[in-house]
Symmetry: C2
Subunit: 441 residues, 2 copies
Amino acid sequence: MLRAVETLTAPTRLTAEELIEAWPALAQEEQLEGFRLLDPGQADDFFQSLPVHSQAGLLLELTPAEQRVWLRQLAPDDTADVLQEVETETRSELLALLDEPTRREVRALLAYAEDEAGGLMSPRFARVRPDMAVDEAISYLRIQARGRLETLYYAYVLDGDQRLLGVVSFRDLFAAAGARKVSDVMQRDVVSVPVDMYQEEVARVFAEEDLNAVPVVDAEGRMKGIVTVDDIVDVVEEEATEDFQKLGGQQALDAPYLETSLGTMIKKRVGWLAVLFLGGMLTTWAMAHFESEISRVVVLALFVPLIISSGGNSGSQASTLVIRAMALGEVRMRDWWRIARREFYLGLALGLILAAIGIARVVVWEELFHSYGERYLEIAATVGVSLVGVVLWGTLSGAMLPLVLKRFGLDPASASAPFVSTLVDVVGLVLYFSVARLLLP
Amino acid sequence: MLRAVETLTAPTRLTAEELIEAWPALAQEEQLEGFRLLDPGQADDFFQSLPVHSQAGLLLELTPAEQRVWLRQLAPDDTADVLQEVETETRSELLALLDEPTRREVRALLAYAEDEAGGLMSPRFARVRPDMAVDEAISYLRIQARGRLETLYYAYVLDGDQRLLGVVSFRDLFAAAGARKVSDVMQRDVVSVPVDMYQEEVARVFAEEDLNAVPVVDAEGRMKGIVTVDDIVDVVEEEATEDFQKLGGQQALDAPYLETSLGTMIKKRVGWLAVLFLGGMLTTWAMAHFESEISRVVVLALFVPLIISSGGNSGSQASTLVIRAMALGEVRMRDWWRIARREFYLGLALGLILAAIGIARVVVWEELFHSYGERYLEIAATVGVSLVGVVLWGTLSGAMLPLVLKRFGLDPASASAPFVSTLVDVVGLVLYFSVARLLLP
């Protein structure tokens, strides 16, 4: 029935939206067929909205004539992104399909790393000269708009050497009296970023300054392009995804989940899993030290998973909070002592709450089922004291680990929940059995 | 020494950047003092760049005369955001400080939920009529720019009833011949969002359509405002932060880490921690069922933490991947079977790799230290078989849990690493001891 309705409303053509929905699930030939079925108008929108690696994948399937058409639809910064996805040989073939001025622009962009300001920027920005009148500048911008411009949000005021003197927003230019000089209405205090600034840093500049576009300058202060806020949305999503995946205890994937091959997936996941497994073997070694305690009071073993997972859980809370706060620039290295102090009190409070629940559980179970024998009060005390210690340790080490990693030049996001748990497990076990040895001699 | 240098370079005034750096670490009076020490020009930038809840906090400390000055610096959508942070009574006082037209705009915005399109939008957009000539439209926009406009990126073409007929980008308007009609150069196929669309959905529309601004329309199709891409950057960061914090096994905080009070922090963290603790008690119950196995072969207990943490770690990998892919719209409910199939093969492969390491460990330790007695081969086999099962179970349940939560209308991001671990622990223990019962009778 549903099928029939669909056929009625879209009898022959496929819409771009339908194809975007279905895309990841389609085989390569189906993708190609679907793309060729689109209306010309829709196909353009569709191609523009595909993620870069899918654009590259699709292009490689097309005939050279089609490649020429679609490659020329892209802005030069997007073209450079697509070319960075393909092999060097194919890259030259695709470059040959562009017109000469665009080819030169794209070549210049390819010289920058993908994840730096230079790799994000578009060379097509609106420029005016400082000695122009406002009316003259607006006419000049109308000519530029007929060519190729990424955005008409700001006009950049450059001297003869392409050095950035100031910026004027379109709103201000429009609102100014026509006879005033550009140099009188422009803002001289311009925030700019160097070509080699890392994209995460660029995103932070956008957030702090609340900008719509930022000019990119080379080491000599010459303006090379602009990064616009719509590129930054992608950067923010990309960086959050990387941190997410690291937080799950694995390497970041470079492509969407369903488009990553099983082989790559195993490679990205087995590394940390094996490291954590080897680290986890320390728990076996720690428990072996207390084998005689376990064989004397088997009941002690029953609480092991509960105790260590409580430490891991509280550590995971603290580490995610600190990792995210670091990524957003809310906390910095020099805040470590404030964080440690807060997490100390928090760990103590949370540990006491869990200890109360844990002690209640042992006492109630003993009353109801006589599970733990006559020394149940000592067992309850062991569980309670250990819980306070383990939760406190988990919270503190979870909060400090991201800062320690950063201190040694590593990514704080590697302080994943699994990493923190493994770290906390060993200490938690030693603590638990040491308390038991003391209270249950 | 350092102090002296600092005093030399910044003798009297504080820069906005210095104050932003120091802000979270300052007491309320220090914040107020620092703010009043800023140059007037810097203070404006500084106030604009503060996060909403800090703007609200600062405003409450100021005198009514200062409040009037600073409140009037904000765009109406930002004013509405600030007012949403304060108590109802203070809200009326602050509203009274605005001029009449702005107060009306802000009142209209306050009617929408903060996290919906209506709460994000600005009512100050550029509008033209369809029968205007391009030159006429540009002059008309120059007049509008002298008033108040959020952005001059698109001009929206409205009929007499404020219904949206089309849109024309500034680039196209600029590039068009001056005598053509707006209705001839406008695009009729406009993407718009309803006032009550949830902000995460709006962000997805931006990503899919690659837009710089999107018009917001009410149920009658009348245009009420625009959401610009710079608002979307904040939404994307906010949503990622919420998911992050849930992934760490806690409720999302509403304010930056260092600005959240200890009391709030405990409230946000103790809930899940206690639930997981109660869930974790099932492990004690499961182990109690195998008390006699443990007391006969104490060595079995030594591997418990290693086995269950391997299940938890592989589950945490799978759940973070699926949660993030769902948040980005890369996978949907109907992909569940493809995900389950992939994760089945992945779990099997990862489990076999860990099992190989685990078996090697038991055999090598036996050769070196004679740790496990004559039945070490049976113990190795128990560890190996359980690892394959536990990792497979962890991977599959980690991948499926976010989809199951979504199916029941819950947030997939609640399938945190701690939640998945606790779920996997119980099954892992039962599996391990059942295998032991079989292989070590």
